[in-house]
């Protein structure tokens, strides 16, 4: 019983502690300290500013716009991902459907393809001259350069890319549900909607919550579609928080201000995560 390990254990534990300290803990501390400084890495500048950056963050219109955009984006994308996921997974679960695995493979395809490359394809799809979308819809919309539609375009791309993941996860959830419930319901003459409303949905609730929480967390951090498609524009209509941080840090090299921004985002996501854990904890103990 030499379960205490010895050299191997010590080396691994040291490496783990060192790695996560250097690449996660120290950065968070540095970002916090940096947020009180005028910090420009190009000029080698690091000067104490007090609360200046923080005041600038909360007084900045762009910050509030970006937070509003981010919350809207995350809420809408999550909503459609969950709805499409539920609808299509239930359709696929039906015994009337053949070739289930073919559909599964197809729906999951967008999720596994590389985001940057796929975003370029969508850039063309949205293009008013050569694009596919206007042709199919019979519309004449300048998707990426009209402030009413740019966010819609980013949402379309995101939902298209991510719904398949929800379908697969929900389908996995459905297969793990007890068959007897459905047989009993069928004997009682419950229709499809009643079965979904009173059996499937309550049993799937933990899975739904899982998707909602992980989706919200990842959508609060979305920036790649914005970088490739709109760069925040037109105007400020597609500025998302993560893109704003990137823009302040690596276009303007305003590291101090960007640090304050990213610390706010960090706290926001931490609070959201803690809240949703609490809610999901309550649901599971119901």
């Amino acid at each position: 019983m030499r379960r205490r390990g010895g050299a191997l254990k010590n080396i691994v534990v040291c490496c783990l502690v060192l790695f996560f300290t250097v690449f996660v803990v120290v950065p968070i501390i540095v970002v916090f300290i940096g947020s009180f400084h005028q910090w420009n890495p190009l000029k080698g500048e690091f000067k104490f500013l007090g609360l200046e950056n923080w005041k600038k963050v909360f007084g900045s219109e762009l910050f509030w716009t970006s937070m509003g955009n981010t919350v809207l984006f995350a809420a809408v994308a999550t909503f459609f991902r969950v709805m499409l996921g539920l609808a299509l997974s239930n359709a696929l679960y039906s015994r009337l459907i053949k070739y289930k695995s073919v559909y599964r493979v197809l729906y999951y395809l967008p999720t596994i393809t590389p985001l940057v490359a796929v975003t370029f394809v969508w850039k063309f799809i949205f293009d008013p001259q050569i694009g596919l979308l206007n042709k199919m819809l019979g519309t004449d919309i300048n998707w990426l350069f009209d402030s009413r539609y740019a966010m819609v375009a980013i949402l379309i791309l995101t939902i298209w890319k991510d719904f398949g993941y929800a379908v697969i996860i929900f389908l996995g959830g459905l297969y793990s549900l007890p068959r007897e419930c459905y047989e009993a319901a069928e004997v009682d003459g419950a229709c499809a909607w009643q079965r979904f409303r009173w059996i499937t949905f309550p049993l799937l609730k933990p899975t739904v919550l899982f998707i909602v929480i992980t989706s919200l967390i990842s959508y609060f951090q979305t920036y790649i579609p914005v970088m490739v498609l709109t760069e925040g524009g037109p105007g400020t209509s597609t500025y998302l928080s993560s893109y704003l941080i990137f823009d302040e840090a690596f276009s303007k090299y305003n590291f101090g201000y960007a640090s304050a921004l990213s610390f706010v985002l960090f706290l926001f996501i931490a609070v959201m995560t803690a809240l949703s854990w609490k809610i999901s904890g309550n649901v599971q103990t119901d």
Binding site: R2, F20, L88, F250
Partner: protein
């Protein structure tokens, strides 16, 4: 009689369900089909008002040009090597970390594991500024060291491997110890070979994530020759923004191999998704 009635109701229902499912299948693959079709068109054909969905003729000029003019093959190889190296490293570090966290008693073990899981919640953009400064201070900008080092351990992989190691019985390890095997032998000789399912899951997802890496290489790598494929796409589109045909071919080069890889291993992918659910 009752059965016949049921059949009667089921036929239209099956039709509607199938139509919905087929509709969404078309939506998912249409962008890829369009991309591949367009990559065979000429620029004149693409911008023409009478553009057809399928190309007039199958010519590979766009691909040849993209590879000659922009050396996409080099970026492709850079990405491939980078993704393979990251994948190999994380498989090993995840396995050995998962093993230690699952099979040894030591003070702070649960705390360490909870701490590792918590790091998954930290947004990437938050740590990127200090990480960049760190690499700058060390003088590591524009090296692959800066690219690989921050990705050497992944919380997701450690989580998966810890689960897998927990299911290996202690008696098996003790038997090897009685035979005189050291702890390193126990891990490499007995534990690691049993982790193949988790190795495959981690390999698939880690490879795709590395293939998809964008912001970090974009910031850290300065020399164009060392750049990765996803960043190169952006460079290409910035430089030849009107060469639609070229960019279609370029995106196809980045996407189609991934799709082929996916179709070959699709069963493994779908099985692995529930495992990847941890990362979200």
């Amino acid at each position: 009689m009752q059965n016949a009635g049921k059949m009667h109701r089921e036929k239209p229902a099956a039709l509607v369900l199938n139509l919905v499912l087929i509709f969404f299948s078309i939506l998912t693959i249409l962008p890829f089909v369009w991309m591949v079709c367009s990559s065979f068109k000429t620029n004149a054909e693409i911008s023409s008002l009478t553009q057809t969905f399928f190309p007039q003729s199958l010519n590979f000029d766009n691909y040849i040009q993209v590879l000659e003019r922009f050396e996409f093959l080099k970026y492709f190889m850079n990405s491939l090597i980078y993704a393979l190296v990251i994948t190999a490293i994380t498989i090993y570090t995840s396995a050995i970390s998962g093993f230690v966290l699952a099979k040894y008693q030591f003070r702070g073990r649960r705390l360490l594991f909870a701490f590792i899981l918590l790091t998954m919640m930290v947004p990437g953009v938050v740590t990127i500024i200090p990480r960049y400064t760190m690499m700058q201070t060390l003088g590591w900008l524009d090296t692959y060291k800066a690219l690989v080092l921050p990705s050497m351990f992944t919380a997701f992989g450690i989580f998966l491997m810890r689960q897998a190691c927990m299911s290996i019985p202690d008696e098996m390890l003790d038997a090897a110890r009685i035979d005189g095997a050291g702890e390193a032998r126990v891990f490499h000789g007995i534990v690691f070979p049993q982790l193949h399912n988790s190795v495959v899951s981690i390999a698939i997802f880690q490879f795709l994530w590395a293939w998809d890496d964008y912001l970090w290489p974009y910031l850290v790598i300065r020399t164009e020759d060392k750049q990765l494929l996803s960043v190169a796409l952006n460079l290409f589109s910035g430089r030849y923004s009107t060469d639609y045909a070229g960019l279609f071919a370029a995106t196809a080069i980045a996407i189609v191999p991934v799709i082929v890889f996916y179709l070959i291993f699709q069963k493994r992918f779908i099985e692995g998704v529930s495992a990847s659910a941890v990362k979200g």
